[in-house]
C-alpha cells in the first residue's frame, strides 16, 4: 500500500492547504482597468426582456445549437460540393480490361473521323491540306493521337514519309504535336498505359518516345526490328518490342525511362517471333512464332508466356489478339478467325472459311472494348465477327468508311 491510496482525499486537503484564498493586491487594478473598457454590444435581444421571461423562454425553448448547426451545414456543403465535383468529372475506364464501347476512329482521304457505332453519327476530327492518318485512342479514351504529314499516297507510303505525332482531346483541341519523325511504321504506334508517352517505330530502325504533354521526342536505346509493340499493363514505362541487340533479334522488354534496360524475352533462333499483346494483369505475354521455313512441319503457333515462370502454352494458330478481359485469344487458324482460351487448347473457328482474313498485321483484327464483337479485315472489307461464333451477317453501315481504333469508356 502506498501513501497515495487515499489520493483523492489527500488532493483535497493539499489544495485547501495551498490555495489560501485571499483578496489579491491587484484587485483594485482589475476593477479600474475594466472600468475603462466598454462592454461588447448586446448579443441577444433577451437583454431587453425581464429576466424571468428570459428564464422561462430558456427553459421552455432550449437555445438552438447554432455552432453545431453551422458545422453541420458546412460539412453538408462540403459533401455536396465534393459530389458535384465528382459527378462533373468524366469517369474513366482502366487502361486494360473490359470497358464500354465508345466512338470508332478512322482515317479517310487524309482526314480523321469518328463514328458512333450505336447511332451511326459521324464527326470530323481533322480537316485541311495536310494528311492525317492512323488514329489511335488513348487507353482512357480521353485523347486521340494520329500522324500528320505533308503527302500521302497510300497507307504504305506512311513508312516512307516524315510525320508528326499529333494529340487532340475529345473536343478536337490540339494538346501536343511532335517534331517530324521519319518513316513511322503504322503498326508501331502505341499509347502508354498512363497516357504519358506514345511509342512509335520508324525509319533507321529507331523507336521514338513521344511525350504527349509537350510533344518532345527522344530515341530509345534499342534497335527496332519492326512490327507492333505493346506497353505492359501495371508497368507504365515497360514496352515489349521486337528488337536487336548483340544477343540477337527477338522480343525484348525495355523500360523506356531506364537506359540500357532491354531484357530478352524470346530469341528468334530458327523462328521469327511476332508480338501479339499482354494479358490485362501484365503477367503473361502472347506472341506468334513463325517458322523461318514455310516447309516446316509446324509453321506457325501462338505462345502464351508466363513472365514469372517462363513457362508457356502453345496454341495451334497464329497472329493472336488478346481479348480485353484476358481470357481469350482471337487468332488466325487455317486462314479463318478462331477463338482459343488464353490457357491453351484448340482454337475454334468462328467465321466463314471462304473469306480471306487479314489478321497478320496490327489492326487487322481487334476486339471491341466490351469483348462482345470483333472488327476483322477481310478480302471484302471490314466485318464484325461474333466471338461466340454466331452468324456475322452484313457489315453494319458505320463500318463502311473504316475502323482503326475503338474508344474505351467507363462501364
Amino acid at each position: 500500500m502506498t501513501r497515495f491510496d487515499a489520493l483523492e482525499r489527500d488532493l483535497t486537503v493539499w489544495f485547501d492547504e495551498t490555495a489560501m484564498p485571499r483578496r489579491p493586491d491587484y484587485t483594485t487594478e482589475i476593477i479600474q482597468s475594466t472600468a475603462a473598457l466598454r462592454q461588447r454590444r448586446w448579443m441577444s435581444i433577451e437583454r431587453w426582456f425581464p429576466m424571468n421571461v428570459v428564464e422561462f423562454r430558456r427553459r421552455t425553448f432550449p437555445p438552438f445549437p447554432w455552432r453545431t448547426a453551422a458545422v453541420l451545414v458546412a460539412l453538408l456543403a462540403l459533401l455536396l460540393a465534393g459530389l458535384i465535383y465528382a459527378g462533373s468529372q468524366p469517369r474513366l475506364p482502366p487502361p486494360f480490361g473490359l470497358a464500354a464501347n465508345g466512338l470508332v476512329a478512322y482515317a479517310k482521304d487524309g482526314d480523321i473521323f469518328t463514328v458512333d457505332p450505336g447511332k451511326g453519327e459521324r464527326r470530323w476530327v481533322t480537316s485541311g491540306d495536310e494528311v492525317d492518318a492512323v488514329p489511335r485512342w488513348s487507353l482512357d479514351g480521353v485523347r486521340l493521337a494520329f500522324l500528320r504529314g505533308r503527302s500521302y499516297a497510300d497507307p504504305g507510303a506512311i513508312s516512307e514519309s516524315a510525320w508528326r505525332v499529333v494529340v487532340v482531346d475529345r473536343e478536337r483541341n490540339l494538346l501536343a504535336e511532335s517534331i517530324p519523325i521519319a518513316g513511322i511504321d503504322p503498326d508501331a504506334f502505341a499509347w502508354s498505359p498512363d497516357g504519358r508517352y506514345i511509342a512509335v517505330g520508324g525509319a533507321h530502325r529507331t523507336i521514338s518516345i513521344v511525350d504527349t504533354v509537350d510533344g518532345g521526342v527522344r530515341p530509345l536505346d534499342l534497335v527496332y526490328d519492326g512490327l507492333d509493340f505493346y506497353w505492359r499493363p501495371g508497368h507504365p514505362s515497360e514496352l515489349l518490342v521486337r528488337g536487336l541487340t548483340k544477343e540477337g533479334a527477338g522480343l525484348y522488354l525495355v523500360d523506356v525511362d531506364r537506359p540500357g534496360s532491354a531484357d530478352l524475352v524470346a530469341l528468334d533462333g530458327d523462328d521469327y517471333m511476332r508480338p501479339n499483346g499482354w494479358t490485362p494483369d501484365g503477367e503473361r505475354f502472347v506472341f506468334t512464332r513463325v517458322a523461318d521455313s514455310p516447309d516446316a512441319a509446324d509453321p506457325v503457333s501462338v505462345r502464351v508466356l508466363d513472365m514469372t515462370t517462363q513457362a508457356f502454352v502453345e496454341i495451334d494458330a497464329g497472329f493472336a489478339d488478346v481479348s480485353n478481359d484476358g481470357t481469350r485469344l482471337l487468332a488466325i487458324g487455317r486462314d479463318r478467325p478462331c477463338i482459343a482460351s488464353i490457357d491453351g487448347g484448340p482454337c475454334k473457328s468462328i467465321a466463314d472459311p471462304a473469306r480471306v482474313f487479314q489478321g497478320g498485321f496490327a489492326g487487322g483484327t481487334f476486339w471491341a472494348p466490351d469483348d462482345e464483337s470483333i472488327v476483322a479485315s477481310t478480302d471484302r472489307g471490314l466485318e464484325i465477327l461474333d466471338p461466340a461464333g454466331g452468324e456475322a451477317g452484313r457489315p453494319p453501315s458505320w463500318l463502311t468508311d473504316g475502323a482503326e481504333s475503338w474508344q474505351r469508356l467507363a462501364r
Partner: protein, 186 residues
C-alpha cells in the same frame, strides 16, 4: 443586493455592480488559477484576463445564476491561454510551499506535499484544471461538464484519466526519490 441582481445590473453596464462581483469572487478565482498554474505571477495574468473578458462579455451571459460556472470557465480558459502564450519560455518552478500549513507530523507531511507538488506539475494544464475544479471547488462531474462545455461523460472520463495520470506521476516521483536515497546511503 443578491448576486443575481448584481449580475443583472452589471449586464446592463453598471460597473459598480461588476466591482462587487469581482470582490466577491476574486479570492476563489485567484486560488484556482494559482493551483492550476503553480505560479503567482502567471495566476495574476490569468485572473486579469478572465475579469476583462467577463466585463466585456457579460451582456452575453443569459442566466445570471450561472455566473459562477461562467467565471470558473473564463479563469480556466485564461489559465490555459497563459500557459500556451508562455510555453516558449520556461516557467519558473517555485518549490517553496505556497503557504505554511500547521500539521501534526510536519516533516512527513512536507515530504508528501513536495511529492504531490512535483507529481502535479507533471500533469498537463488541462488535467490540472479539471482536478482543481473537482477537488478544490468541489464541482461534480455535471458541473465540470457545464463549466468546461464538454459532455458529461467526457468530463467524467477526463477526471478519471487525470487522477490516474497523477497516480502514475506520483509513483514515478516516489521511485526517483527512493533511488536517490539509496544512492546517498550507499
Amino acid at each position: 443586493m443578491d448576486q443575481r441582481e448584481l449580475v443583472e445590473r452589471a449586464r446592463r453596464g453598471d460597473h459598480d455592480a461588476f466591482a462587487q462581483l469581482v470582490e466577491a469572487s476574486i479570492g476563489r478565482l485567484e486560488a484556482v488559477a494559482r493551483l492550476i498554474l503553480r505560479d503567482p505571477e502567471l495566476a495574476r495574468d490569468a485572473v486579469q484576463d478572465a475579469y476583462i473578458r467577463a466585463w466585456r462579455d457579460l451582456p452575453s451571459l443569459r442566466d445570471p445564476d450561472r455566473i459562477d460556472h461562467w467565471l470558473h470557465r473564463l479563469t480556466v480558459n485564461a489559465s490555459l491561454d497563459v500557459v500556451r502564450r508562455r510555453r516558449r519560455r520556461p516557467i519558473e518552478v517555485d518549490l517553496a510551499p505556497m503557504s505554511s500549513p500547521i500539521v501534526a507530523d510536519e516533516s512527513r507531511h512536507v515530504a508528501d506535499r513536495d511529492t504531490l507538488e512535483r507529481g502535479f506539475r507533471r500533469l498537463r494544464p488541462e488535467q490540472r484544471a479539471i482536478l482543481v475544479l473537482h477537488y478544490y471547488l468541489g464541482l461534480p462531474a455535471s458541473a465540470l461538464a457545464e463549466t468546461l462545455e464538454i459532455p458529461h461523460g467526457t468530463a467524467q472520463s477526463r477526471l478519471y484519466r487525470a487522477l490516474d495520470d497523477l497516480r502514475a506521476a506520483l509513483a514515478a516521483e516516489e521511485r526517483t526519490t527512493a533511488s536517490f536515497r539509496h544512492e546517498v546511503v550507499a
